[in-house]
Symmetry: C2
Subunit: 164 residues, 2 copies
Amino acid sequence: MTAPLHIRPAEARDNDAIWRIIGETIAAAETYPLPPDMSRADALAYWKSPAHRVFVAETEGRVVGTYYLKANQQGGGAHVANCGYITAADARGRGVARAMCLHSLEQARARGFLAMQFNFVVASNTRAVKLWQSLGFAIVGTLPQVFRHPRLGLTDALVMHRKL
Amino acid sequence: MTAPLHIRPAEARDNDAIWRIIGETIAAAETYPLPPDMSRADALAYWKSPAHRVFVAETEGRVVGTYYLKANQQGGGAHVANCGYITAADARGRGVARAMCLHSLEQARARGFLAMQFNFVVASNTRAVKLWQSLGFAIVGTLPQVFRHPRLGLTDALVMHRKL
């Protein structure tokens, strides 16, 4: 990516861009365990749920990625962060997800989280698995056949974790 | 337990009993990652959330345990069930949790689930870990120090899974 990437908190005016980005990934149904026919309203309500801090990654005035940051659990589990990241299909392979993850690690540290955990990384999404590993995440669990992939059928999902 | 245990769907009239049972466990903060000061309204809204099927275990007309059954994920993950079980403190050690788990496995099978997963079994809760293992669950993940136990400090939690 030649133009610089700017990551900032999402605003109401970003809803169209966020829906365009998350809608295509939800419909593909290959990486997120969400109903592929989820409506715009339901998808935005999920992504921007009150417990989520939502960010967008922008380059040349165009939103090319979005992520949310939240506590993975309440109470005794509230010191572990959780995130979901989605890059626009036409902006993949340019380091957007890596930049968003690095940004989220900083944000999580600044908010006092002690670790970050991903609960459901579909094992066939090898690009994501390798990216998270390169950013210090370890596979701490393998959930057998918990995801029904539209082409590959029953597929494992991974739990990944790193300290902050 | 000499008197027979009857497990049935929860009704509105069970709210007092359910709150008594889950409230003491939430306040103890040793097994569930929930705010220990959770109000009755919030606790019941959580336990009886729309996606949960809630059951109670009754003996001699008294509710001594409750559990919920739900899909652990949506979309491509909706074939895996998830449950939470709580036994009244004064009814422990009498097989109530075992009976509720066996009941939930049948319920999950009848609803077409292919597996059941527990996402967050606090490792210091060895009684529960052993019980789930005796009922066919395997530890498929160890989440390092993700739970702050009020006496033991940072503690692991386990992800447990079994096919149905």
